[in-house]
C-alpha cells in the first residue's frame, strides 16, 4: 500500500513540475536586444523615414554621364576603372566590374524597401496604438511619396521617359512588398509609370502643407514630383497644373546677382530653392564635375549669364570645373527645386500652345539669372521658343541628372537628333539615343533572368 501512495505522490510531483512550464509562452515573447525592436509605433515608422542616409543620400548621375553634358579627354578616361569606361562609351559592364552601377540601383531599391516596410506596418498599426490619425496618414503619404520618387528615379534613368510606342517595353521591377524573398515579374514601362502615378497621387493627398527641414517631403514636394513626372509622361496639361500648384506654395527664386561668385561652393545646402533634398553622385559623375565638363556645354553660358561665374571656375589647366551644386559640397544634387518647376511650367505652357505666357514666365525667371544690364527681353523674344527653352533648361539644370531624360524626350517628341562621339583607348564610339538604354546591373540579371 505504501508503494501505491508513493506512486501517487510521484505522479503528483511530475504533474507539478510539468505545470510550471505550461505558463512559459509569455517568456518567449519578451524582446531580446532592447535597442533593437520590431516596428510597433508611429515613432518607429517615423524614425525609419528620418533616416537621411537611406532617403536623401542616393547615388545618381549615370544618365548625366551618358549625356552631352559630359566629355572626358582620352588621357583621362583611359586611366579610369573599367566600369566607368564602359558607361562612358555606352556599353554594358561585365560582371566583375559591376561596381557603382549596382550601388545606385541598390540604393534606390533600398529606399523602396524601407518605404514598403513603413507602408505595410502602417496598415497594421491600429488606431488604438497611435491616437493620432493625422500623423499616421502623413506617414503613409510620406512613404508613398518616397516609393514613387525612387521608382521614378530608377525608371527614368534606366529606361527614360514614357512614350506611347514604348509602353510595352520591359522596364524595371516594381516592388510593393517588403518580403525579400518575393520574386520579381516582368514589368513594362507603362506599368511602372502607372505605379508611380498612383503612389504619387496618394501621397499628395496626405502630405503636410509644410515641413521644418526639406529632407522630408511636404505638399510642395509632392506637386513638384508630379510636375516632373507628367513632363516625363508627356502630359503637358497636368505638368502645368502641378507646376502651378507647386509655385503657389513655394516660389522663391534666388537672385543670382546677390551670390558670391568667388566662393568654392556658392550655393548652400537646402537653400531657398530646394523643395526636397536628395544628393550624391556616382564616382564618374563626380569626376566629371572637375574633369569632364563638356566644352560645348560651357560655351552655352554667354557673357551676361550669371551662371557662367556661379556654376563654373577654372581648373589649373584651363578647363571648366562645375561648382554650382545645390548641396553645398562635392556631389551632385538631384532633388526638385523651384527653378526646375518653373522650367517645367515654361515648357508645359509652350507645348500646350500658350507661347506668350511661356515667354513671359521664362523672362521673369531669367531675370534672376542674368545681369541687370543684359538685354533680357531682346534675348527672350528674339530666339525661337523651342530652342530657347531647351537651351535655358539645359543650362539651368546642368549636372542635376535631368539632361539625359530631356535628350530622350526631345528625341521621341520632337525628333531631335544628337551626335555624340567619344574616344576610348584610341577607338571611337558614337551614340544613338533611340537604341541605347543604361544596362541592368549584372548581379540583378543573375537573379532575374526574366529581364535579360
Amino acid at each position: 500500500m505504501n508503494d501505491i501512495k508513493i506512486k501517487v505522490k510521484s505522479i503528483y510531483l511530475v504533474a507539478l513540475l510539468l505545470s510550471t512550464f505550461s505558463g512559459c509562452s509569455k517568456i518567449l515573447e519578451e524582446k531580446s536586444d532592447q535597442s533593437l525592436k520590431q516596428m510597433e509605433t508611429i515613432d518607429d515608422l517615423q524614425a525609419l523615414l528620418n533616416n537621411s542616409g537611406i532617403f536623401n543620400d542616393v547615388p545618381a548621375g549615370m544618365g548625366e554621364v551618358c549625356s552631352d553634358n559630359v566629355y572626358f579627354v582620352p588621357d583621362f578616361i583611359n586611366a579610369q576603372p573599367e566600369f566607368d569606361q564602359n558607361l562612358y562609351v555606352w556599353h554594358a559592364p561585365n560582371s566583375s566590374a559591376d561596381g557603382l552601377l549596382a550601388d545606385a540601383w541598390n540604393n534606390c531599391y533600398l529606399a523602396i524597401y524601407y518605404s514598403n516596410l513603413v507602408i505595410e506596418q502602417s496598415q497594421r498599426i491600429s488606431l488604438a496604438h497611435t491616437g493620432d490619425v493625422n500623423r499616421l496618414e502623413q506617414i503613409k503619404g510620406w512613404a508613398h511619396f518616397l516609393r514613387a520618387y525612387y521608382h521614378l528615379a530608377l525608371v527614368s534613368t534606366w529606361r527614360g521617359p514614357w512614350t506611347a510606342q514604348r509602353d510595352q517595353m520591359l522596364a524595371i521591377p516594381i516592388r510593393v512588398v517588403s518580403d525579400i524573398n518575393a520574386p520579381n515579374i516582368r514589368n513594362t514601362l507603362g506599368e511602372v509609370y502607372h505605379q508611380v502615378e498612383q503612389d504619387m497621387l496618394y501621397a499628395i493627398a496626405r502630405l503636410p502643407s509644410s515641413v521644418s527641414i526639406v529632407t522630408a517631403p511636404d505638399k510642395a514636394a509632392g506637386y513638384a514630383l508630379a510636375s516632373r513626372f507628367y513632363l516625363l509622361k508627356g502630359d503637358y496639361e497636368k505638368t502645368r497644373l502641378y507646376a502651378d500648384s507647386t509655385l503657389s506654395l513655394k516660389n522663391s527664386i534666388m537672385d543670382y546677382a546677390t551670390l558670391d561668385q568667388s566662393a568654392n561652393f556658392p550655393f548652400t545646402a537646402m537653400n531657398a530653392e530646394v523643395i526636397f533634398h536628395v544628393y550624391r553622385g556616382i564616382n564618374l559623375v563626380n569626376r566629371a564635375l572637375t574633369d569632364g565638363v563638356s566644352p560645348e556645354l560651357h560655351a552655352l553660358y554667354g557673357g551676361g549669364d550669371l551662371r557662367r561665374e556661379l556654376y563654373f571656375r577654372r581648373n589649373p589647366n584651363g578647363t571648366p570645373r562645375f561648382k554650382g551644386l545645390y548641396n553645398g559640397t562635392l556631389g551632385i544634387f538631384t532633388g526638385p527645386t523651384t527653378s526646375e518647376v518653373v522650367l517645367n511650367q515654361v515648357e508645359a505652357l509652350w507645348r500646350t500652345g500658350q507661347i506668350e505666357e511661356s515667354r513671359t514666365a521664362l523672362e521673369k525667371f531669367l531675370r534672376h539669372r542674368y545681369r541687370s544690364e543684359f538685354d533680357l527681353p531682346g534675348y527672350v523674344s528674339g530666339a525661337p521658343i523651342d530652342s530657347l527653352i531647351k537651351v535655358e533648361r539645359r543650362k539651368e539644370l546642368a549636372f542635376r541628372d535631368i539632361r539625359w531624360q530631356d535628350m530622350q524626350r526631345y528625341h521621341y517628341t520632337d525628333g531631335d537628333e544628337y551626335i555624340m562621339i567619344r574616344e576610348l583607348r584610341a577607338e571611337k564610339y558614337s551614340f544613338d539615343v533611340a537604341n541605347f538604354n543604361i544596362p541592368y546591373p549584372e548581379n540583378f540579371l543573375v537573379f532575374n533572368p526574366l529581364y535579360r
Partner: protein, 1060 residues
C-alpha cells in the same frame, strides 16, 4: 465480483512491479586506511551485471545478490579487494589499502551538468581532468589551466577564436564552447571563478555527450564542477599560497627596423623630396628629428658637422633599452587560498576564500577576492538539500600602454628619458607649431609623455559577482528521484575611464576643437578631464526540474532522466561621460553634440563624440530534455538523448520549426565478456554514437528588426535603420556528428587510453548569400546557405612505466587531428587574385574547398640579378606585377591552414618518495603562418604604421648583385615598385608553424606528516612556465604562436600548501 478481481490484479501487478523484498541487499561504507571515506570506488558484481560507484560518503548499496556472488571493489591507487556474498550479510565496512605513493589521477565519472556518468556506462566521447592535474599549470583563470592537458586548442591569434574543441563549427555564429558551472551555463566573467575551487572538469565532445545541452552544444561543452566537500570523520583545512614572478618580455623579439637603417632611409627620402610637401603645411604634419635636422641644414640653420653628429647620435639610439628599463617591470602575482572541507552525519560542506593580487609587466593590476560555500544537507531520509554560494569581487586597473611596435609617431630612436632623468616630450604634430602655440598660450601643451600616461589615462573595472544556487533532491522510491534546482547569477561591471587634463588624449581633443580668434581661443571641448562611466549588469535566473530513474531487472539496467528548464537572462549596458571634468569640485562642462565643429588642423567638420550608450538585452529560453541509458550484464550499452529548446529571440514561427536535438549511442564493454582475459584488460570498450546538436545565434530573427541610431545629421530627428531583414526562411545551424571510440586499460591500469575517430557535418550555417539587389536588402543577405565538414582523431595514452610504492613514472600522450573544409559557400564569385589573398587571420574571402583560415599568397619564384621580384603567371616566371595582381585565383598559391592540423601534448610525471617532478610539452603541426615583412610604401612615406613587426627586414633586403642568393626581400626603389604590393603577401613570407614547446616544468616536495597531528601535510612546489620552444620547423627567430607583437615571458612560481 469482477471489480474486486480487477483490483486484486492491479494490486498484484503493482506489488510484483514495485516490490523488491524477496532479493538480497548489501550495503556499506568504503574507506581508506586513514579512515577517510572513499567516493567513486567501483563496486562490481559481475555475475549479476551490477556496476556501481560509492557515493560522496563512501556508501554503496547493492540489490539483487545471491549467495556466492563475488563483490569486487576497485579504485585507482588502491589494491583491489573482493568478498564473497552470502545470504544474511546485510552491511559491510570495506577498507582499501593504498597501492602506490601518490595518486596523480583519480578515475572520475564524467559530469554532464545533469548527471554523473561512470566510465563503465559512458558511451559518448568524454574527457575528464581533476584538481590534481589542474594544479600542474599555474594561472588565476580556470580555462587557462586546461592548456597542455586536454584536447582543447588554444589559439593565440587575437582575431581567431581563442579556444576551440574539435575545430570550428560555424562561420558567422558563436564559436565558443558552452561553459557549464555545476548545473547551469555560466555567462559571467570566467575570471570570477577561483580555479582552486574546481574539483574536476569534463569536456563533452561528441553528440551523445553534448546533445543534452541541445541547441547550444555544437561547439562542445566544458563542464566545471566545484568541490563539494570530502567525506570522512575529520574536517580538513587547506591553505595555499602561490607566488609567481615573471620576466620582462623580450622587446627585441618584434622584428622592427633598427635606428641606423631608418636614419639612412629618411636621408634618402629627404634627398628625393618626399617630405617637402609636409614642411609647414596646413595640417602641421609631424616631421621626425632626422627630417627636421635635414631641413634645418638645407636652410642653412645647421652646419654640416653638427648635422652629422646629431644624426650619428640618433642612429646609435635604441629606445628599447629605455622601454625595458622604465616602462616594463617583472610581473608579480600572488594567489592566496584557504579552504575548509568537512562532513558530519548527513551533511557535507566546502568553504573557501581566496585573494589574488597580480601586477603585470606593464604595471596593470588585478585584485580579486573570492569566496565560496557549498553545502549539502540531508533534511530527511531521501531528501537532500544542496546549496552553493559564490561571491567574487575583482578590481582591474590599467597600466602602461607598452612598447609601440607599430606607430607613425614612434621611431626606434625616440627615447623616453634624457640624461638628466627628465621626460622627453614626444610630438604627434609639427614640433615648432606645438611649441609656439604653447608659448603663446593659445593652445594647451600638445606634446606627449608616454611614461606619464599610465597615471593620467586610467581605466578601471570593478566586477562584483554572485552566484547563488539551491536545490532539492528527493528520492521518491528506490531508483526514482526528483530534483529541482534554481540558480541566480548576478554580475555587475563598473567601468571607469578617466582621462585627466594632463593626459595626451584630452589635451589633443581640446586643442583639436579649439577655434582661434583675435579675442582668444574658443574651446568647443571645455578644459578639464574626460570621464567615462559605464555599468554593465547581468542577471540570470535558471530553474530546472528533473526526474531521474535507475532500475535493474536481472541482467537489464536502465538509467533515465527527463525534465524541463527555464532560463531568463537580462544584460544591460549604461554608459555615459562628461567633458571638462574637475575631480576637485566634481563639476563638468557642457558640450554641443549636435552642431559640427571645425577640426583645427584638417579644416573638416566633425562632431564631438557623444559617449552615451544605452543597451539592454533579454534572452529567455524554455527547454525540455530526456536522456536514457540501458545496459545488459554491464556489457552491452545503448543510450538515447533528446532536447528541445525555444527562445524569445526568434518569433513564434521560428520556434515552431525547431527540431529537437538528439543522439543515439551504443557501447560494448568487452572487458566484462568471458572471452576477454580479466588479468589483461581492466577496461576494453568500443562505442559508437551519432547525433545532432545545434548552434543557436540569438541575434538572428525571422522578423524585421530596426535599431535606433541616434540623431540623423541632416534631418535632425531620431533615426532608425533596419538591423535585420525579415526572413521567415531562417533556420538553426546544426551539427551532426558520428563518433567511434575505443577505451582501454590494461595490466591494472599500467597502460590505458582512449581513441576517438569522428566525422562532423555542419549544416544550415549562416553565411552571406549574394542577394538580388532589387529586393532592397544589402548586397549580401544572411541565409542558411553554408556548410562545413570535418573529420578528426583524438588519441590519448597513459603509460605508467614504473608503478611502485615509492617510485612512479608515467607519461600521458595526447594527439589530436582535426581537418575541416567549407563545403558550401555561395557568396564568393570574385576570382581576381588581389581580392583573394589570405593571411589566415580574419574570416574573409571564404571559399568552398578550403578551411576558414587558409593562407593564400602570390607566387614567388626568386629575385633576379637586379634584386627585382620574379613571380609566376600561368606557370611561367613573370614580373608583370599588374597582370599578376589581376590574374585569376588559380594563379595564387595555397600554402595550408593557419590553424594546426595536428596538435597535442606530452605530460611527464615522476614521483620518488616525497618528490614529484613533472613537465608538459605542447606541440602543433600541419599549419603555416605569414611572417610580417617590410612594406616599402609604408616605411618610406609619412603614412601611419611606419614601423611595425617586419620592418626589420629592411636591413636584410637585397642591396647589390649577388644578394639574390641570400635573401628574398626585393630591392628598395623610389618611386616604390609595384612589387611592394606583392612581396609582403607572397609565398616567400609563409612559414611552417610546426613547433614543440616546453610549456611548464614543476617540482614538488610532499611532506606527509602524522595524520593525528595538527598539520597533516606540507607541500612545497616550484613551477616554471613558458620555457620556450624546443624545436620549430625551419629556421628563424619567430615563435609561430606570436608572429607579431611580443611573446609571453617566462614565469617562476613558488607554491606552498598546508593541510590541517
Amino acid at each position: 465480483m469482477s471489480i474486486r478481481y480487477l483490483l486484486t490484479t492491479i494490486a498484484a501487478v503493482l506489488v510484483i512491479t514495485f516490490c523488491y523484498g524477496q532479493q538480497d541487499t548489501l550495503s556499506g561504507r568504503i574507506r581508506n586506511q586513514s579512515g577517510r571515506f572513499l567516493p567513486g570506488v567501483n563496486v562490481t558484481v559481475q555475475a549479476r551485471g551490477i556496476t556501481q560507484q560509492s557515493d560522496t560518503q563512501g556508501v554503496f548499496q547493492l540489490i539483487g545478490l545471491s549467495s556466492g556472488d563475488l563483490v569486487s571493489f576497485k579504485f585507482i591507487g588502491f589494491r583491489d579487494t573482493a568478498i564473497v556474498y552470502s545470504t544474511g550479510l546485510r552491511t559491510l565496512d570495506v577498507v582499501l589499502t593504498e597501492d602506490s605513493g601518490v595518486i596523480q589521477q583519480v578515475d572520475i565519472a564524467a559530469s554532464t551538468g545533469y548527471q554523473r556518468i561512470p566510465k563503465e556506462r559512458a558511451v559518448g566521447a568524454f574527457e575528464t581532468i581533476d584538481a590534481a592535474r589542474l594544479e600542474n599549470v599555474v594561472s588565476h583563470k580556470i580555462l587557462d589551466k586546461l592548456e597542455g592537458q586536454t584536447s582543447l586548442l588554444f589559439d593565440k591569434a587575437a582575431s581567431r577564436p581563442a579556444l576551440t574543441l574539435r575545430g570550428i563549427n560555424t562561420m558567422e555564429g558563436n564559436t565558443q564552447p558552452l561553459i557549464i558551472l555545476d548545473n547551469f551555463p555560466y555567462q559571467g566573467d570566467i575570471e570570477s571563478i577561483n580555479p582552486l575551487d574546481v574539483q574536476n572538469i569534463t569536456l563533452l565532445k561528441d553528440a551523445s555527450a553534448a546533445s543534452i545541452w541541445g541547441a547550444r552544444a555544437s561547439n562542445g561543452v566544458i563542464v566545471i564542477t566545484t568541490k563539494q566537500g570530502t567525506s570522512g570523520p575529520r574536517s580538513s583545512i587547506t591553505a595555499s599560497s602561490i607566488i609567481t614572478v615573471g620576466e620582462i618580455p623580450d622587446l627585441y623579439y618584434p622584428n622592427v627596423i633598427d635606428s641606423r637603417s631608418l636614419v639612412e632611409l629618411e636621408r634618402e627620402m629627404f634627398d628625393r623630396g618626399v617630405y617637402d610637401s609636409f614642411l609647414n603645411n596646413v595640417q602641421r604634419t609631424w616631421l621626425s628629428p632626422v627630417v627636421e635636422s635635414l631641413f634645418a641644414h638645407r636652410d642653412g640653420r645647421l652646419d654640416e658637422q653638427t648635422l652629422q653628429g646629431r644624426l650619428a647620435d640618433i642612429a646609435g639610439t635604441d629606445n628599447r633599452q629605455q622601454y625595458g628599463e622604465f616602462m616594463y617591470r617583472p610581473s608579480f602575482n600572488q594567489q592566496h587560498y584557504v579552504s575548509l572541507s568537512s562532513a558530519t552525519r548527513g551533511s557535507t560542506y566546502y568553504a573557501s576564500a581566496g585573494y589574488d593580487r597580480n601586477v603585470s609587466n606593464l604595471a596593470s593590476r588585478l585584485q580579486r577576492f573570492s569566496m565560496r560555500v557549498n553545502y549539502n544537507y540531508r533534511l530527511l531520509e531521501g531528501l537532500h538539500w544542496n546549496n552553493s554560494l559564490q561571491l567574487a569581487h575583482s578590481i582591474q586597473r590599467s597600466g602602461h600602454s607598452g612598447y609601440p611596435a607599430a606607430g607613425y609617431h614612434d621611431r626606434p630612436y625616440l627615447n623616453l628619458v634624457d640624461d638628466n632623468g627628465q621626460h622627453i616630450p614626444h610630438y604627434n604634430l609639427e614640433r615648432g607649431y606645438a611649441d609656439s602655440m604653447l608659448e603663446s598660450g593659445q593652445l594647451l601643451d600638445w606634446r606627449r609623455y608616454p611614461l606619464q600616461e599610465k597615471d593620467l589615462d586610467r581605466q578601471q573595472t570593478i566586477t562584483p559577482s554572485a552566484v547563488i544556487s539551491t536545490g532539492l533532491t528527493y528520492t521518491i522510491m528506490d531508483g526514482l528521484s526528483a530534483q529541482a534546482v534554481y540558480r541566480y547569477d548576478r554580475q555587475r561591471q563598473e567601468l571607469l575611464h578617466m582621462r585627466e587634463l594632463g593626459s595626451y588624449f584630452t589635451r589633443n581633443l581640446i586643442n583639436t576643437f579649439t577655434q582661434l580668434s583675435d579675442n582668444g581661443p574658443l574651446r568647443r571641448v571645455p578644459i578639464g578631464g574626460i570621464r567615462q562611466d559605464g555599468t554593465m549588469d547581468l542577471r540570470s535566473h535558471n530553474l530546472r526540474g528533473q526526474l531521474t530513474w535507475a532500475k535493474s531487472w536481472g541482467r537489464h539496467h536502465l538509467n533515465a532522466l527527463a525534465g524541463g528548464e527555464v532560463r531568463k537572462t537580462n544584460e544591460s549596458l549604461v554608459q555615459g561621460g562628461v567633458y571638462g571634468y574637475d575631480p576637485g569640485t566634481l563639476t563638468s562642462g557642457l558640450v554641443n553634440y549636435i552642431d559640427p565643429v571645425r577640426h583645427l588642423l584638417l579644416g573638416t567638420n566633425q562632431f564631438i563624440p557623444d559617449p552615451h550608450v544605452f543597451r539592454s538585452r533579454q534572452d529567455n529560453f524554455v527547454s525540455g530534455f530526456f536522456n536514457a541509458g540501458y545496459d545488459m550484464d554491464g556489457k552491452y550499452l545503448l543510450t538515447v538523448s533528446a532536447r528541445r529548446d525555444a527562445s524569445n529571440n526568434f518569433g513564434m514561427a521560428a520556434n515552431e520549426r525547431w527540431n529537437p536535438m538528439w543522439s543515439f549511442g551504443a557501447g560494448w564493454n568487452l572487458h566484462n565478456e568471458s572471452f576477454i582475459s580479466q588479468g589483461l584488460f581492466d577496461l576494453f570498450k568500443l562505442r559508437l554514437t551519432y547525433g545532432m546538436t545545434g548552434n543557436m545565434d540569438p541575434s538572428k530573427s525571422a522578423l524585421t528588426i530596426i535599431r535606433f541610431a541616434g540623431q540623423d545629421p541632416l534631418s535632425r530627428q531620431p533615426r532608425a535603420a533596419v538591423a535585420q531583414d525579415a526572413n521567415d526562411q531562417l533556420q538553426w545551424e546544426t551539427t551532426r556528428t558520428i563518433n567511434g571510440g575505443l577505451d582501454f586499460s590494461m595490466w591494472s591500469a599500467r597502460v590505458s587510453g582512449q581513441l576517438d575517430v569522428y566525422r562532423k557535418w555542419n549544416e544550415n550555417l549562416f553565411a552571406p548569400a549574394l542577394n538580388d539587389l532589387s529586393n532592397g536588402a544589402n548586397r549580401y543577405v544572411v541565409r542558411n546557405v553554408g556548410s562545413m565538414q570535418a573529420e578528426g582523431v583524438e588519441a590519448s595514452l597513459l603509460v605508467r612505466w614504473i608503478s611502485r610504492q615509492h617510485l612512479n613514472f608515467e607519461t600521458r600522450f595526447l594527439y589530436n587531428y582535426n581537418r575541416y573544409t567549407v563545403t558550401e559557400y555561395r557568396s564568393n564569385f570574385d576570382r581576381v587574385s588581389r581580392n583573394n589573398i589570405n593571411d589566415g587571420l580574419n574570416l574573409l574571402r571564404i571559399r568552398e574547398g578550403q578551411s576558414l583560415y587558409p593562407v593564400v599568397s602570390y607566387p614567388f619564384e626568386r629575385l633576379d640579378e637586379n634584386g627585382q621580384m620574379i613571380s609566376r603567371l600561368m606557370g611561367e616566371p613573370s614580373a608583370d606585377y599588374s597582370a599578376i595582381l589581376n590574374a585569376d585565383i588559380d594563379n595564387l598559391v595555397y600554402s595550408g591552414m593557419a590553424t594546426p592540423l595536428h596538435f597535442g601534448n606530452v605530460n611527464l610525471h615522476l614521483s620518488y618518495h616525497r618528490w614529484q617532478l613533472g613537465a608538459i610539452f605542447n606541440w602543433k603541426a600541419g599549419y603555416v603562418y605569414r611572417r610580417p615583412t617590410v612594406r616599402y610604401g609604408v616605411l618610406s612615406t609619412q603614412q601611419p604604421l611606419g614601423m611595425g613587426s617586419g620592418s626589420g627586414d629592411f636591413a636584410r633586403r637585397w642591396k647589390q648583385p649577388g644578394d639574390e642568393l641570400y635573401t628574398t626581400i626585393p630591392r628598395f626603389d623610389y618611386p616604390i615598385s609595384p612589387s611592394d604590393n606583392l612581396y609582403p603577401l607572397s609565398e616567400a613570407t609563409v612559414a611552417s608553424g610546426s613547433h614543440v614547446r616546453l610549456q611548464t616544468v614543476h617540482l614538488l616536495y610532499n611532506l606527509n606528516l602524522d595524520p593525528l597531528k595538527a598539520v597533516q601535510s606540507v607541500r612545497v612546489g616550484v613551477n616554471i612556465t613558458n620555457l620556450g620552444l624546443l624545436w620549430r620547423a625551419g629556421n628563424g627567430d619567430i615563435d609561430p604562436d606570436f608572429p607579431t607583437g611580443i611573446s609571453l615571458p617566462r614565469t617562476y612560481s613558488l607554491n606552498l600548501q598546508l593541510q590541517f
